[in-house]
């Protein structure tokens, strides 16, 4: 049995404490270790993605206990893609954090960063519902630590809301797991799938309640209406690299819905009819609207970006909620895109805001490198709004095309296209004020009054961003371009991942096949 599957969890779990207690007085040492670890993780995740390409679902029984009695890790195409995406994003974010010096603005950045990765990887790999809860906790507490990295009143306030909302979600998660265990007697996902499918119809109430609770729990993570409230303040006030890394955190929730609500509570399970499918779609549609309206109405840059993340989560979940292999494949493509484009925008926003007085959308004297930032913002906005030539457009086409075969086609078309329009207009307004209008101000004119209540203080003459500071943003945008150019092979992989997902018998036999006699 190959132990590589668990490497994405064990490697950061070992590295992080070493960084925390051996290297905590030397930032260079910590950076080196963090880089080495993240690069190794990216290589491992790439290897796993290649390994999963064959289509075999691999299960790894921790402690050598047979499923469902011990905990299993499961690697299939879907988890592999999530791992790869996370590790690539992590590398991009790490370069930015180091190049801009964010990591040195508080304690334990790199340790928390590695722990964060560990939590995310663990959540993507696990084949056990309770273990998913554990890793939700790991990534929640690590993300809270990272979110408040560097401190500051507003950030701490937002951080509190973030952690409170998510702890409420964790509580509900426990209720859900308790109910599920009481209804089925197991928490192994494959075993759950078997038992739920075999459940008599007259005994469905408990499982239905559990499925709904789990959906709400995951919806909190995925920032879907009506539990999206934590996101704008969190993303707006988190340190930029952290906000960029958080682009994957919403996807953890989406992933959990995709995984649990197809394998366990699949659309074809009779006892669950009308539980999730009926509700997830309207929820996703409203989320698209909230995101788009938020982008258009934003008066600050960071909330604008945050709402665009909500909108893209909504778009993605519209496709997920249709629960067909084609829509899921489209959703996965869009998810990869949405993660990278959100990251690009948050990293760029950091570069810009470090040279501006506050993130309020109004004209100020142009910053250094105004042209460069404007070009990058244009590209990032194109990505987020889903315009060509970047991958968002293809993602949106994939989703819309796949939605044509579903009964919710009209609603999906209207929501996604109108949402795109509002997003485009919102981004155009913001970009034009930030980067164009500023050029109309005469340099002699005294700078506008400093923003009220803005935590940031502007240095006398902000230095131009160096190559290494800009590189991560450019890299993220280039990845979007690459994703568009290589849409064919990427989409083929994701399509295969979706097919694998909907053929849950492969998953079940991979996990349960070896140990049922034990």
């Amino acid at each position: 049995m190959s132990h590589w599957i668990i490497a994405p969890v064990v490697l950061p779990a070992i590295l992080a404490p070493i960084i925390a207690f051996v290297m905590r007085y030397d930032i260079s040492l910590a950076r080196t270790a963090s880089f080495a670890g993240t690069i190794a993780l990216a290589a491992i995740c790439f290897g796993l993605t290649v390994a999963a390409a064959g289509g075999e679902t691999v299960s790894y029984e921790l402690g050598n206990w047979p499923a469902p009695f011990g905990i299993v890790l499961v690697l299939d195409r879907l988890s592999a893609v999530m791992l790869l995406l996370t590790s690539v994003l992590a590398l991009v974010v790490l370069v930015h954090a180091v190049a801009t010096g964010w990591d040195a603005r508080g304690r334990h950045f790199h340790a928390l960063f590695q722990f964060q990765l560990m939590g995310i990887f663990g959540a993507f790999l696990t084949g056990d519902a309770f273990n998913l809860f554990v890793f939700f906790e790991v990534l929640l507490i690590a993300s809270y630590g990272m979110m408040i990295h560097g401190g500051g009143k507003v950030r701490l306030q937002a951080g509190l809301q973030y952690v409170v909302m998510n702890l409420a979600g964790s509580t509900l998660f426990l209720f859900a797991l308790g109910t599920l265990y009481a209804a089925t007697g197991t928490l192994n996902i494959a075993d759950l799938a078997q038992r739920v499918q075999g459940l008599p119809v007259e005994d469905a109430a408990l499982v239905r309640a559990a499925a709904m609770m789990l959906m709400i729990v995951f919806a909190i993570k995925a920032a879907l209406f009506p539990v999206q409230f934590w996101l704008p303040a969190t993303y707006s006030n988190a340190p930029a690299p952290v906000a960029a890394l958080f682009a994957i955190m919403t996807k953890v929730g989406a992933y959990a819905i995709i995984r649990v609500h197809t394998v366990v509570f699949g659309p074809d399970v009779p006892v669950l009819s009308g539980v999730v499918g009926d509700w997830l779609m309207p929820v996703a549609l409203v989320t698209v609207a909230i995101g788009a309206v938020g982008v258009l109405g934003a008066s600050r840059l960071m909330p604008l970006l945050s709402f665009s993340v909500i909108g893209s989560m909504g778009t993605m979940m519209v496709a997920v909620a249709a629960f067909t292999p084609a829509t899921t494949a489209a959703a996965l493509y869009y998810m990869v895109h949405s993660t990278l484009s959100a990251a690009a925008l948050f990293l760029l926003a950091d570069l810009v805001l470090a040279r501006r007085n506050g993130d309020r959308l109004r004209a100020q004297l142009p910053t250094v490198q105004n042209g460069l930032f404007a070009a990058l913002f244009f590209a990032g906005a194109i990505g987020m709004a889903g315009m060509p030539p970047l991958s968002g457009f293809l993602g949106k086409l994939l989703i819309l095309d796949a939605m044509q075969a579903t009964p919710q086609m009209t609603a999906a078309f209207v929501a996604i296209l109108l949402g795109s329009l509002l997003t485009i207009v919102g981004f155009a307004r913001a970009g034009s004020v930030l980067f164009w209008k500023s050029t109309g101000l005469a340099p002699a004119e005294p700078a506008p009054n400093p923003d009220d209540g803005e935590p940031q203080e502007l240095a006398d003459a902000p230095a131009p961003a160096g190559v290494m500071s800009v590189a991560p943003t450019v890299a993220a945008l280039a990845l979007l371009g690459g994703l568009a150019i290589f849409a064919g092979p990427v989409s083929a992989y994701l399509g295969a991942a979706a097919d694998q997902l909907y053929d849950s018998s492969g998953y079940i036999s991979a996990v349960m096949g070896q140990g049922t006699e034990g």
């Binding site: 064990v10 809270y144 007697g185 494949a329 060509p388 086409l397």
Partner: protein, 954 residues
């Protein structure tokens, strides 16, 4: 060439690759920059030239590169007559504009950027006309919106430029989005996104139920792009762009994209009543309205802009007629409009450039100062007016001819009448362009002294004028091109002639009426303009701006209203929706009857319940007094522990008690720095609401628990009971589950604890380096402090207890695998002992006596646990596989030892380290708050032998 199609992707790609160059070449100077911009265009033109003979011979060249087969998107291109015509127009005019812009742009304008945008736009346009896949076409379509946004907003320091760019993007962008929907539906009807397939499937499309939605959505795209009424208003505002941009976008390219699309989709979509009425009515209204507004515009470019709107309406109307002759007229007029309109825009640019004004009221008599420009302008404007011997006349005749026998709803005079009116107005504004700008007496109050520009600047429009006259005199020149393009539009073999004299036809009469009427109208222009300006008119920009800002205000209101920052509200929404949704889900299924009996409630248990419920209620009532609330929470925790004992879960009870103790102690320490009471912040109504929500949620959870506690189920835990000793080496199943069966969960949980410790530490460091530290220092906590900080009794008692507590901890740790206990509880027990020590004797004193560093403890804890897991790899077993055996040491009994023991040690260390790090962080805050550090354990030396050192501040 047999394989000519392979050139097509290269042609499509060239402008995009070329776009990278000007931005760099500007460093070599403006001429180099312009030259290098022309290179890709010329190269593409040359390749197109190579392909022309094949296309003219009726061949359709194709090339296909697979891109995203799952979607049906491929990078496939094809070139037929229509594509060829447009490609020539786009590239040819692009080249002329490159030349013209070199002289037009001033030294202050970033020319490299300009040419980059221009090439991007050119590439996008070119892509539209040679795409053989409608999804690919959509990509290029949206790219034109984006690149035109950059071009229109090129003068980014001018508000008009920015607003015009945004308006164009919003209008054409929304049309583009509608078109996406339409194209997807169209593809779904046909079963292919391949344009060739779609064009061949016209009958299937028109018979489909989805035909009308697809048609309307696609037409929305075309109408917005081609500025058809009521979406025409963006075009004049796009005139804020530099004139070369206007000349390019509004003569040959951007606005023609919509017309192109209608022509392209003609075989698939035309031929129905819906198409006929929607398209021709829209076109005719646009034509008349555009011409009418154009007549009263004083800004030269605005006049041309509205005349463009009008001519686009003409083209749309012709395509809407849906007859072959109309298609021929449309194709021919596309060519003619391009030649005279580009020339006119450039002329307007020259006038603006030389006189520094575009206001017709301030111009006139320019013919004397700039004769060449006047000649060019006059020729082009006469063509626009449709005067014989200029090419505009020919296509206008064809148009009027078609209009003359077109009936709307059996009414056969309205179309000819309105078409004549449009032509009449067109004559009027064209003549106005000539007479009010160039003719008339010379003035001496021009803002700048006018003269003809350098050759480079008028070369391009002059060349176009040559074409205007050449085609006007010898229409046969354009015949092959028109024929092949019109055949491509209609998809049929066409036989026709282009000639000047058709005899006295209705069209000629209408034309004469138009010319005479137009001239008369111009004569009456002054009073008419006065009336026009006095009449109230809807101002499109004001409406659009109001609409957008209303939308923004609404959005802002909705967003701010929803996200008001109150966590209580967010939680309320979360709880209400959860209760509601779970109830709906639950009640959608049925439930089998309970299988268990309710148990009797013994008096002791009843007391426990009462205590539990009462303290919970008291917490709610007393939460404003934080200390009291904390005490009550302690009671709740203890009652829960007692519950665990009663329900035979000693491990849980032990853990609960120790967790409870540690938390309460840490909270007590933290309370010191917090206000003693919680202010009342919410109204009675709000509290009532929250109360109802809380009770509903609590009742829901209780009901759910009740439901599943009353029913038997078949859990997997039998396996754990059976295998605990055999496979896990321990008789305490709970512990074996924790460190072995589900050791991975525990591994995760200790990491959570470790991260919490690190986070609290980091948070404290951040706090103490921020403004909070100042507030801490300035707050006077002295009144809250006990005068006897380290009471003798407590110091002595804790010190006596320490070894005992440690002993208990070790005992609990060691017995854990077989009896209730384990690393987690042990860690907590020892941390309680140490906590007590710190609280009793003070941080400073205790700290000097404790050598282990907390970070290290957490680190080692996690590492030991992880390495224990990794160790299993050496044996070829999965992570965290345990091994155990029995060891016999002298003096003591044989005992079992397993790798789980090491894992548990990791758990123990992490727990201890995390708790102590939290304590350390609290004590750091205390010292910032002015707490003194004691060196001695007590303020009072019980031995009385020496004077105590004065406590000193940090």
């Amino acid at each position: 060439m047999t394989n000519g199609g392979s050139l097509l992707p290269i042609i499509a790609l060239l402008p995009f690759l070329g776009a990278l160059v000007p931005g760099l070449m500007i460093r070599a100077g403006r001429n180099a920059c312009a030259t290098f911009t022309a290179v890709p265009t010329i190269a593409a033109l040359a390749m197109l030239g190579v392909l022309t003979p094949d296309v003219m011979a009726g061949e359709v060249l194709k090339a296909e590169i697979e891109w995203l087969p799952q979607l049906g998107l491929s990078a496939s291109f094809f070139l037929d007559g229509l594509g060829l015509l447009f490609a020539f127009m786009i590239l040819g005019v692009g080249l002329l504009i490159t030349l013209y812009a070199r002289f037009y742009l001033s030294g202050d304008d970033p020319m490299g950027q300009f040419y980059t945008y221009l090439l991007l736009f050119q590439g996008a346009m070119l892509g539209i006309v040679i795409s053989d896949n409608i999804l690919l076409l959509l990509i290029f379509w949206e790219l034109t919106s984006l690149s035109s946004f950059l071009l229109i907003g090129y003068w980014k320091h001018l508000p008009e430029g920015r607003q015009g760019a945004r308006m164009a993007l919003a209008v054409t962008g929304s049309g583009g989005l509608a078109m996406i929907a339409g194209m997807l539906i169209l593809g779904n009807i046909v079963g292919s996104y391949n344009l060739t397939d779609i064009l061949a499937a016209g009958d299937v499309i028109r018979a489909s139920d989805w035909y009308l939605p697809a048609l309307i959505l696609i037409l929305l795209g075309a109408f917005t792009k081609s500025a058809q009424f009521p979406f025409h208003f963006w075009l004049p505002h796009a005139m804020a762009a530099p004139t070369p941009v206007s000349a390019y976008l509004h003569s040959a390219t951007m606005v023609k994209a919509g017309v192109f699309l209608m022509a392209r989709m003609w075989p698939a979509l035309a031929g129905t009543d819906a198409w006929f009425y929607i398209v021709s009515i829209t076109g005719l209204i646009t034509m008349v309205l555009g011409a009418l507004i154009a007549l009263f515009k004083d800004d030269l470019k605005a006049l041309l802009a509205f005349s463009t709107v009008s001519h686009l309406g003409l083209l749309t109307m012709l395509l809407g007629f849906g007859t072959e002759k109309a298609a021929i007229a449309a194709v021919f007029h596309i060519i003619n409009h391009l030649t005279f309109k580009a020339a006119l825009f450039m002329t307007a640019g020259i006038v603006d450039h030389e006189t520094h004004t575009r206001d017709i009221k301030r111009l006139g008599g320019l013919a004397k100062f700039m004769p060449i420009t006047a000649l060019i302008g006059t020729v082009a404007a006469l063509s626009m007016a449709g005067i014989p011997l200029f090419n505009g006349f020919l296509s206008k005749e064809l148009m009027l001819e078609e209009a003359a026998h077109t009936a709307w709803y059996q009414n056969d005079w309205i179309v000819p009448a309105l078409a004549t009116l449009g032509a009449l107005l067109s004559v009027a504004y064209s003549l106005r362009f000539i007479f009010h700008v160039f003719a008339g007496p010379a003035r001496d109050d021009y803002p700048a002294h006018p003269h003809d520009p350098p050759f480079g600047m008028y070369a391009a429009p002059a060349l176009l004028c040559v074409l205007v006259v050449a085609i006007g005199v010898l229409p046969g020149l354009a015949y092959p091109m028109v024929k092949v393009a019109a055949q491509a539009v209609t998809g049929q073999e066409l036989n026709f002639y282009l000639k000047i004299w058709h005899g006295v036809t209705p069209a000629l009469i209408m034309s004469i009426i138009a010319v005479v009427g137009g001239a008369l109208l111009l004569g009456l222009h002054r009073p008419l303009a006065r009336a026009w300006n006095a009449a109230p008119r809807p101002e499109a920009k004001a409406i659009f701006d109001a609409l957008i800002s209303a939308l923004v205000r609404l959005s802002r209101g909705v967003t701010d209203g929803l996200h008001n920052g109150a966590i209580s509200r967010y939680l309320a929404i979360f709880v209400v929706s959860t209760v509601g949704l779970v109830y709906v889900a639950f009640s959608g299924g049925t439930l089998s009857p309970p299988t268990r009996e309710m148990l009797p409630v013994p008096p002791v248990v009843a007391v426990g319940y009462v205590l539990l419920i009462a303290s919970a209620l008291l917490v709610v009532l007393n939460h404003h007094n934080r200390f009291r609330a904390l005490v009550l929470i302690g009671v709740i925790g203890l009652m829960i522990s007692a519950g665990f004992v009663y329900l035979s879960a000693p491990d849980l009870a032990l853990t609960q008690i120790s967790v409870e103790t540690v938390t309460i102690m840490l909270l007590l320490l933290a309370l010191h720095f917090l206000p003693k009471t919680t202010p009342r912040e919410s109204s009675v109504g709000l509290r009532l609401r929250d109360g109802v929500i809380a009770v509903a949620a609590g009742a829901g959870v209780a009901a759910l628990a009740m439901v599943f506690l009353l029913r038997d189920f078949d859990p997997i835990s039998d396996y754990h009971l059976a295998n605990s000793y055999e496979g896990g080496g321990g008789t305490n199943v709970v512990n074996v589950i924790l460190v072995d069966f589900r050791g991975y969960d525990t591994f995760g949980e200790i990491i959570v604890l470790g991260i919490a410790g690190l986070t609290i530490f980091a948070l404290m460091e951040a706090l103490l380096s921020g403004p909070a530290a100042r507030r801490l220092r300035n707050t006077d906590y002295s009144r809250d402090r006990s005068r006897d900080r380290h009471p003798l009794m407590m110091v002595v008692a804790t010190r006596a207890m320490l070894p005992i507590a440690v002993m208990v901890g070790v005992y609990i740790f060691l017995r854990g695998h077989n009896q209730p206990g384990g690393g987690f509880v042990a860690g907590l027990v020892i941390s309680i002992a140490l906590l007590m020590q710190y609280m009793a004797s003070g941080f400073g004193w205790t700290q000097t006596r404790q050598r282990l560093e907390y970070h290290t403890m957490i680190g080692w804890g996690v590492l030991i646990a992880a390495l224990t897991g990794v160790g299993a790899w050496l044996g070829g077993a999965p992570f965290l596989t345990s091994i155990y055996g029995y060891i016999k040491l002298p003096l003591i009994e044989k005992f079992g030892l397993g790798s789980a023991f090491a894992f548990d040690l990791g758990v123990f260390l992490t727990v201890l380290g995390a708790v102590m790090l939290m304590l350390y962080s609290l004590s750091r805050i205390a010292r910032y708050a002015g707490e003194t550090v004691n060196v001695e354990p007590m303020d009072y030396d019980p031995s009385g032998k020496r004077e105590l050192k004065k406590p000193e501040g940090e």
